[in-house]
């Protein structure tokens, strides 16, 4: 096929059957519906074409017409049924449908009628295009993509003139310092992005993000309270095999001060109690209290909160990515993608007999970060 569509070519397409034959296309004389040959008609491609039943038999074409008309009529009916369903059916009514179960009656009717209404319009349109509109391949040539050679030369000349007049090639030092300035320009943006965290807490003033990530609200003597009731705990409250989600006693004050949940995210712990004989290792000597162990609740992989504790195996499993920690063995990773053990919080009791932290965590809690090494 020619790449150029010249005016004389397009004029030829208007000539009807003789023009198609020039391109090698085959036109069937038996067609029930003659093909369009008025102005704008395109030449047939040189591809064999088998006529459809609806092309050959007027009866078949009328059957398809009735079929499509029925689809459009049904679509109208669906629109009416939608409005009726919307008005007539009680919002709370329920209906049992096999497979779906008990569903909202109105919900179902609105969905089915609207869905079918749209679907039938689409299906009718597709059927129309497939069965009744012409399905012969035609040729429509596109224009040349390359620029005019004269335009190309002009553009090149303008580039050369700009290079010469601006002196970009002549002033070497100026050119290089411009490149240097553009290279350094993004640095302030990088610094701003690094400092995008908001440090609202005056107690954390002047600390770097890495320092803030490395310490939590826990300090020696701070009471452990139950997450939920915020009640303090005595060792005898926790049975062997028990699990308690804990927080520092001042968590609500910190949250009110900082207006963030960051501290809750960092200082959340779980307390578990096991037979002291079951404890094979801890992260520090006597960091437990009579078999009660406190571990961070934040997974060291990507920071999901975990309290999925099996009290017979002492495994702590993270539901996000199945990292498994052995709390009887210093919180070491025994399975999964976590790269670090679960940090342990040393605990003891105060003079009133309530469980308290003995100090902060000895290592950063939660997921790894850049400066942690």
């Amino acid at each position: 096929m020619s790449s150029d569509l010249t005016p004389s070519d397009s004029a030829a397409t208007g000539d009807g059957p003789s023009a198609e034959l020039a391109h090698g296309g085959v036109r069937d004389d038996r067609l029930a519906r003659p093909e369009y040959s008025g102005p704008g008609a395109l030449p047939l491609a040189a591809i064999d074409h088998t006529p459809r039943r609806s092309d050959l038999y007027p009866k078949a074409a009328r059957r398809v017409e009735r079929q499509i008309t029925l689809m459009f009529l049904l679509s109208m009916l669906m629109a009416v049924l939608f409005v009726i369903g919307y008005v007539a059916i009680d919002v709370g009514a329920e209906i049992y449908i096999p497979v779906l179960g008990t569903v909202g009656y109105q919900n179902l009717v609105l969905g089915v009628t609207f869905g079918l209404g749209v679907f039938l319009i689409g299906a009718g349109a597709i059927q129309w295009a497939k069965k009744l509109m012409p399905d012969v391949e035609v040729v429509q040539d596109r224009h040349r993509l390359q620029s005019d050679p004269a335009e190309t030369v002009k553009a090149h000349d303008q580039y050369e003139r700009g290079k010469e007049e601006s002196g970009f090639a002549a002033y070497r030092i100026m050119r290089r310092t411009l490149i240097g300035a553009l290279a350094l320009f993004p640095i302030p943006l990088v610094v701003l992005v690094r400092d995008m965290w908001v440090n609202d807490d005056p107690a954390l003033a002047g600390m770097s993000p890495a320092e803030i990530l490395s310490e939590t609200a826990w300090t020696g003597g701070l009471r452990i309270v139950i997450d939920g009731s915020l009640a303090p705990l005595r060792p005898e409250d926790i049975p062997v095999g028990g699990l308690v989600s804990g927080l520092p006693e001042n968590i609500m004050e910190i949250q009110e001060e900082t207006h963030t949940l960051n501290e809750r995210g960092k200082s959340a712990i779980i307390l578990v109690r096991m037979d002291p004989g079951d404890i094979r290792a801890q992260q520090g000597a006597d960091w437990d209290y009579q078999g009660i162990l406190a571990y961070s609740k934040i997974c060291t992989h990507v920071g999901c909160p975990i309290a999925l504790y099996e009290h017979r195996t002492h495994h702590l499993l993270c539901p996000c990515h199945q990292s498994t920690f052995d709390l009887a063995d210093a919180g070491n990773v025994i399975f999964g993608p976590a790269a670090r053990r679960m940090p342990q919080l040393p605990i003891t009791v105060d003079e009133e007999g309530f469980l308290v932290a003995a100090s902060d965590f000895a290592e950063p809690v939660g997921a790894s970060f850049w400066e942690r090494g």
């Binding site: 705990l233 028990g242 699990l243 309290a307 009290h311 495994h315």
Partner: protein, 251 residues
């Protein structure tokens, strides 16, 4: 005057009778455990449980000791059909229980007579009608959701173990499970999770059980992963089917 006095007297007697008959619930009565009930429980224990847990419930290689596990533990394990175990495995599954409720209570009374342990919760303890469902939701997400899934559908644990779905659990079973920590579930005793909080958790689970699904096909309420899988398989298959239909040449 005489009639009024008579009515008053009748009212007082009726009231006292009502109080006297409702306070000790059936569960309480079972706890008391008269000697014949304990004997019956021991007989059933020797028959159905002792081969694993030992002749005196002292435990053996195949089963832990039952001394001190309490009546609540026995009721939970046996009434849900978890015990007796059909076959050794990672976890005791729920199955049809083979004992009548009297037999379960008898065994519970026998085990409770060996050593003190958590008692079967009373009807009053598991009454969640006044409980705060929203608070229950908070407590459920703190303490339960990590294993039983946010909508109580259950989930996988390590090495073949699993946290069961809570969709069929009764208030009593839920209370007993929190109290006794069956299998690998940690214990939530009345100190760390007081009775009112347990009732709130039960109320929340009951709310989950009754939650309607107006759209149908809740896909186990397992959340975006399952919904995405359904979309990428069933819905995309339907869309590909439609695209193929559009593309087929008409005859």
């Amino acid at each position: 005057m005489g009639l009024v006095l008579l009515l008053l007297a009748l009212g007082v007697v009726g009231g006292v009778y009502g109080v006297a008959t409702t306070t000790p619930s059936s569960a309480d009565a079972a706890l008391v455990g008269d000697q014949t009930q304990i004997e019956e429980g021991r007989r059933l224990y020797l028959e159905g449980c002792s081969s694993c847990h030992g002749l005196n419930a002292e435990g053996a290689a195949s089963g832990p000791t039952l001394i001190g596990v309490g009546a609540a533990s026995v009721h939970f394990q046996v009434a849900t059909g978890r015990m007796p175990l059909a076959a050794p495995g990672a976890q005791a599954p729920v199955k049809k229980d083979i004992y009548s409720s009297e037999e379960v209570l008898a065994m519970a009374a026998y085990i409770a007579s060996l050593a003190p342990g958590p008692a079967i919760p009373t009807a009053e303890q598991i009454d969640y009608t006044d409980a705060d469902v929203a608070e229950g939701g908070v407590l459920f997400r703190i303490n339960c959701a990590q294993c039983h899934q946010a909508a109580g559908q259950g989930g996988a644990l390590t090495q073949g173990k699993y946290a069961p779905s809570l969709m069929e659990a009764s208030p009593q079973e839920i209370y007993e499970a929190m109290l006794t920590g069956p299998q690998n579930m940690p214990i939530f005793n009345d100190k760390t999770l007081p009775t009112e909080e347990k009732q709130a958790v039960i109320a929340y689970i009951m709310e989950l059980q009754e939650a309607p699904s107006p759209g149908g096909l809740s896909l186990g309420r397992l959340g975006p992963v399952v919904e995405g899988l359904f979309l990428w398989t069933a819905v995309f298959a339907a869309l590909i089917g439609a695209a193929v239909w559009i593309g087929i040449r008409a005859r």
